[in-house]
Subunit: 176 residues, 6 copies
């Protein structure tokens, strides 16, 4: 009988064993952005996107996806989530030098929606991925609902902002 | 009003009520095997199966399926899994009397991969099914990835090896 | 940068934050009914529906759906369910004034099956929705299995009957 | 070797084999109701339920559940749904003899929301269950979002209204 | 910019691209076994297992799991399944030389249940995995329901028996 | 009876009805990036991340998530995906003026992994969201596997690159 060691080495995939960790109160906050055309933002604000109320739908999609994080991210543990809170901020920059408005829009992507998600649980491991997933799926839902009028939208700046609980305790992002 | 009792008798299906049980630390270990052609084993070892790295994929499939045990097995409870660890051992028996190698392969199925899975949780009931499911899905994934070259593969010897925690405590398999 | 406040107001969707609540033992009981033709009820009782044993299948569907409540109801929390118990009562009213049996059946819907579900968990929030979901899916499964012979079946009277645990404690339905 | 026939007879459960059926364009429409207190209806209308916009959330929950019908109803086939459309109608009956308004509310359940769902697909079997599921989950979502203020809500009148396509062709409900 | 080629080589994982294949009628049949104690088999036959009717539950679990094959096996395609049929055969061997019955039971595992599953679809790829999954989950469900009385049960002989449709056409297993 | 029109207007959420569209061959390609520390990239390349082979796992997660797009994005249709292909490109820029390597890493985020996904189907609507989802989940999986050593990773540049099929035909991104 031969164990093929290089498989065990190269192909290893493993969960982090959290069985001996204490249950602590945990929070994680993430955010992300979607850049879009000025017109698209107007349609969202005025509830005129054909598929319906974009931000409510995106919020629900983000909440529901967070609950399924352990199904989507292969090595995540199932967690007893106690809250998921998602907010949107719309950046419009209408005060920009308005003479080259259109150009700005195309080049600098000044119109965007920021999605911020905070997730809480009592668990042996943190909810960072739940926060990251909910932001991503919320933004992707905005993309889906608006893609008929704006295929060029771009999603980015998805990052962890803050987390607390567990052995490593409080952490706050310090760079961009 | 008549209750039809024979329905309640014959057709009864019920979960085990674990609401009054204490939460204890639980472990379960299961294993299983897939028998395959010598050539198939070689392709797996050399990362030459067209669909990709077979054992890493099987391991991930097993881990992900364990997390969904309560969705697949009707009467299982959802559990807070804290770890799933899957290992593979490849049995090659190259030292066999090599003159009748091919014959052995076909008749005795001496080439095989053993999958061993250990699952942990803190819960009111055990993770035996999670361990059994992860072994089965990992082996079925091997079948899926190799079936283009070896439809005759056979899966078997799926059994519980060991479990601990809960009222019944430690148990170790004593027979084959 | 402008936050559009009316989106935050009208389009708000939020989970109830249960992170600070204590874990308590919780129970919820719900029930519902499906009205059907006398003949359909007979077929169910005699295991003669083509798709198979209707009540066992409905029971399993109800149990399995309860475990997925947090996937189906957008703002529900995932919960550690410890038991789901589903019962059926068949109302036949054979003692009715039998001379106008057929008429009654069509007009008054006196033949029906009641589904009662009780769900338990230890959690920060209750299992009311789990009980309601399991009743609904169990009844819908009866509909599915019998619809080839009785498309007119009607599902109703789905309601919470009782719940206990949590801050609001024991509650029992007092009206119809 | 003995086959135990009574298991095969009593315990039989089987899908309908649709493999030989042609793919046709299919539609199904179902509806259902939730009865609630006058105050609850007011809160829903004025977007003042704490959990957020009730009807939009219910609509989304209904749409998403319809897509998972084959996961929830054991013997349903997976289908390529091409549309799910959900509408709500709010019955308020404000013109009732207003002097005994409160009494009516409690006794006759005159305040309610009707949910109507129409589902379409091209398939070998119909989308009746998809329509029924989406109505049920939409109404259950209303229950979930409002249960903090109105535990007594009742769901009922869930029924198929119309369906077309397939061998049995067009069918319209003729009774209540 | 450097592409790291050894990742692309060793770590490759890929679906089979079936986009250019024609849709054909496909069938696959698989089977598997669970060996158990004589007493366990008796309990199953007599509907005396505490969790309920074992074979009906196992059948449903197998059917429901087949529909989720593409979620469980990473590289499987979603398929429009048109039928899943699961049968059980109970081997009892009561005619054995009855004087050493007990010994046989432990050593030779003569008591077992065979599960046979046949799956059909119209698709660009076959339903082999659906058949294999349904057999495996059905047998695992038997294990789950009986494990309180018989932890030593063993699952095996899971194999593809027959398949048809697609470019490779009809295939029938010729070896054990 | 009063229909509340402003709910129907503001709160409308609707799928696009694709029932009358023809089935066409469709493709969509999306990409995205994760920026990380130089050291993290080295660990990934050398298979030294504790959780295992990062890119294979990310690829599988992306493939599996694409198959569940219609569960995650509320208004997406279920589609018969025929292929999902995910590739990674690692940008290392080792030829940079190496004296200020560390500074560059922190300020300009020159180290990154690009994920490119192409999805195919025959359907009545396109697979743009499937491609976008698979990129996002693949990148989030990289984040999950490396977050123990690099919490500052940032995900972005998620965008559709190309799509074909359907009424709108071929489209290629022309801007950044």
């Amino acid at each position: 009988m031969n164990k093929i060691n290089h498989v065990d080495f190269k192909g290893k995939v493993k969960m982090v064993d959290v069985s001996k960790k204490p249950i602590t109160y945990r929070k994680a906050k993430a955010h992300g952005k979607i850049w879009l055309k000025k017109d698209t933002l107007e349609l969202i604000k005025n509830f005129e996107i054909k598929k319906g109320d974009v931000l409510s739908t995106a919020k629900l999609a983000g909440i529901m996806a967070a609950k399924r994080t352990h199904e989507l991210i292969p090595l995540c543990h199932p967690l007893s989530i106690t809250n998921i809170e998602i907010k949107f901020v719309l950046e419009e920059n209408d005060n920009n030098n308005s003479n080259n408005d259109n150009e700005n829009e195309n080049n600098n992507r000044i119109y965007n929606i920021t999605c911020i998600s905070e997730v809480k649980c009592d668990g042996k491991t943190g909810v960072e991925m739940e926060a990251m997933i909910s932001v991503s799926i919320a933004l992707l839902t905005i993309y889906d609902m608006c893609k008929a009028v704006d295929r060029d939208m771009k999603i980015g700046d998805i990052m962890l902002i803050e987390k607390s609980g567990g052995k490593s305790g409080y952490w706050k992002r310090e760079r961009d």
